[in-house]
């Protein structure tokens, strides 16, 4: 199929960017979206232009590196997939596809479609851990039974890949789904209880400091999340913060 692409081009963090139109031809419907981008870039390189910079790595939907806003949706129109798993069969011959970086004040654009998601890391530095030393004498793993239900729920929260689609999709650029998932994973496990109070306070404080917006419960994040992280995690984080303060 033949497509028109409208892509955000921005030289670096300081420069202003703009949308630029490109044409690609003979795109197979079996290609992944990023393979289509590879075709475009090969074409640009061969004609002496600079290729479009975009983040990507594992290309199997788990590393969380890829991050495009395609036709008005984070990771494009398909559900439960990252951009790297989006396939061109979701589009039709002659389509115009708009491709933008994830947009948020807390995710500054570094170049073209590449953004800096360091804010997520800093939130995790603030409390995304359990303080346990590596001794080799830690208590036996089975000395602490954890109900299957709690373990499964913690796992569901822990599947977050930190891609930032929640922030990108949220009309308020809120990071609460991400932070909620991280807080929830530890809140659901007995190991996480000891530091629960400080953890949620510090992580929320860092989240606020980074300039993310507030949650207004539109639910867009949950729909666009490639891993289907539930809004319940935000409610749980809210409860945890309340518990921590009163």
């Amino acid at each position: 199929m033949n497509l028109t692409l409208k892509i955000w081009r921005q030289k670096d963090a300081q420069s202003k960017g703009k949308m630029v139109d490109y044409k690609v031809t003979e795109i197979s419907e079996h290609m992944s979206f990023l393979e289509m981008m590879d075709v475009l870039n090969e074409q640009l390189i061969n004609s002496g232009e600079e290729p479009v910079a975009f983040d990507h790595d594992c290309r199997e939907g788990i590393c969380g590196m890829c991050s495009m806003y395609i036709n008005g949706e984070a990771h494009g129109p398909d559900r439960g997939v990252t951009t790297c798993q989006l396939h061109m069969r979701m589009f039709k011959d002659g389509d115009t596809i708009t491709i933008e970086p994830f947009r948020a004040k807390a995710f500054p654009v570094l170049k073209d479609l590449v953004v800096d998601r360091g804010a997520f890391d800093r939130i995790q530095h603030a409390g995304g851990y359990i303080s346990v030393n590596t001794s080799g004498n830690t208590q036996d793993a089975n000395s602490l039974p954890i109900s299957k239900h709690a373990a499964d729920e913690a796992m569901d929260a822990a599947t977050c890949i930190g891609c930032g689609a929640c922030v990108a999709s949220c009309k308020n650029s809120s990071a609460m789904l991400f932070v909620g998932a991280k807080v929830s994973q530890y809140a659901l496990l007995p190991q996480g209880q000891i530091e629960a109070t400080d953890r949620v306070k510090n992580m929320v404080a860092q989240m606020d400091l980074e300039g993310f917006g507030n949650c207004t419960n539109t639910g867009a994040c949950e729909i666009e999340c490639p891993k289907g992280i539930s809004l319940d995690n935000i409610a749980r984080m809210n409860r945890e913060l309340l518990k921590a303060n009163f």
Partner: protein, 671 residues
Amino acid sequence: MSVLDSKVPKGPLKDKWTDYKNHIDLVNPANKRNIDVIVVGTGLAGGSAAATLAELGYNVKTFCYQDSPRRAHSIAAQGGINAAKNYQGDGDSTYRLFYDTVKGGDYRSREANVYRLAEVSANIIDQCVAQGVPFARDYGGLLDNRSFGGVLVSRTFYAKGQTGQQLLLGAYSAMNRQIARGKITPYNRHEMLDVVKVDGKARGIIARNLVTGEIERHSAHAVVIASGGYGNVYFLSTNAMGSNATAAWKIHKKGAFFANPCYTQIHPTCIPRSGDYQSKLTLMSESLRNDGRIWVPKNMEDVIAIREGKKKPTDLSEDERDYYLERRYPAFGNLVPRDVASRAAKERCDAGYGVNATGEAVYLDFASAIQRYGKEQAKIHNITNASADKIYELGAAIVKAKYGNLFQMYEKIVDQDPYKTPMMIYPAVHYTMGGVWVDYNLMTTVDGLYCIGEANFSDHGANRLGASALMQGLADGYFVLPYTIGDYLSNEIRTGKIPTDTPEFDAAEKEVTEKINFFVNNKGTHSVDYYHKKLGNIMWEKCGMSRNSTGLKEAMVEIKALREDFYKNVSVPGNANEFNSELEKAGRVADFLELGELFAKDALEREESCGGHFREESVEIDGEQEGEAKRNDKDFAFVSAWEYKGEPGEAVLHKEELEFNEIELKQRSYK
């Protein structure tokens, strides 16, 4: 006497590690504050090592090319992590895990290292649980296990199909704690481009800030390389797009020997290539072979009809199908080890029986599993005279419960419903057992330079067992390196801060800058990917699942010629001092173009078939095992460690003889 000293401690195998730990020199806490360590790569090995070293008190700098340590490719591991916990009471033990790993590696790994790995495996699970890793549990609240990779016990711990992700996030959380304390400084979106040696010791690295293009100098008292494997030398592999061998290759060029580069694992169950634009391959968990039956059509007419879309695989009757694994290996059938299953698929496809347009795919069929489970369920639920539809429905539900997420992933990628039509699979490069040579301390042949995880060669011999990569990465990082590096650093307490304004740093930086400037100024005619794909093609055709002397010799010549062409005609748009993905790729492919040649040379040298390395000249010529891989313990029970001499083709071979005192060497048989 070889120049290689493995430094394996004396004494009985089971006491070596304990005795070693009891006798090493320690660094006192006050002195640790004055010692810097650089860790390159933040996957399971690098992340866990960085966290543990920082916890001990060393000042750690971590480097990764991704935007966050959490994205290292360890994250993609699906199946699980082995540990000799014997929670299932099925007779597992440290010895059994050790034995299985050595045997699975086709007797080409170092006994003492593997035993230590098995010994610390149980600690890993304890550590990860304490960190909050949500492993799967049973209804009693205790940890669940699954069996994996054709061993006789259930010792694999897992977190859904995302074990690697959860373990990496665990290691990353341990890093977070140290970053918050200021003991780890993370350098994300940074790539190490060279190691700096001062008086023969590793004293720092040259790194490029991938956002600004700035070249940076970082000094340390020891450097740890944990940059993963080199599977991307094949262009198409299950590795991440950015996975590269640059750090490992650069240290090789600076004096670290490179061991067994030809040992590559080719995983049998990956989603096949769909066209020339393919950028990478996706793995489907090995567990699928527990229920799926692998086949291709018996008759060539059917193959052609299927490729042309005139027939569907479900149109073929049982006797028109060739279940070739069941035919060739009646004892193990579809559950033969990875290397055997992969070669058998290649054999059928080379003979022309591949079932998709590219001719490189075989079927993995769940129809009989669905029937079998359906009938079983009908019996359990007391449904007499169940209709075919009902049986299918019941059976499909069981298959869905076991493999639902994999089936969904397949459907998203291929757009076919694997409940209704057989999956198509083909082998793909997955893991590299070879890597930088290290001694028992995980130190390379350069003082103060360590190598851990997939980047080193040490524990998997010629073939890795399923669920052992995660185990090795974390064992090295959490429980081995922090001790062994301390022994070395105890001599560094009086060294003081290492300055970066020395001639050694000047020279290394100059070399790096010149290379970068060369690329951006070359203005050639072909993209980096053009060369990477060509290299991948040579590797796959001539150094792939089966290798022969002629092909390997050709490969060496072709790779060398390709490398020369690359340096003449590669085109890298953009500038050096900016975010430039093409420039990053150019440096990595340049290293692959050298590594590939050494790979072929190593494969040529090893005139035996073992594990993932299959030499067509070395097969059983008669008897029951006719046509199967033939290992040659008399002449090849050694580690090939290559010393760089200016050109990959001129590398010098050093042999580390492997001694087996605890295990009797046997031929693997799956007939």
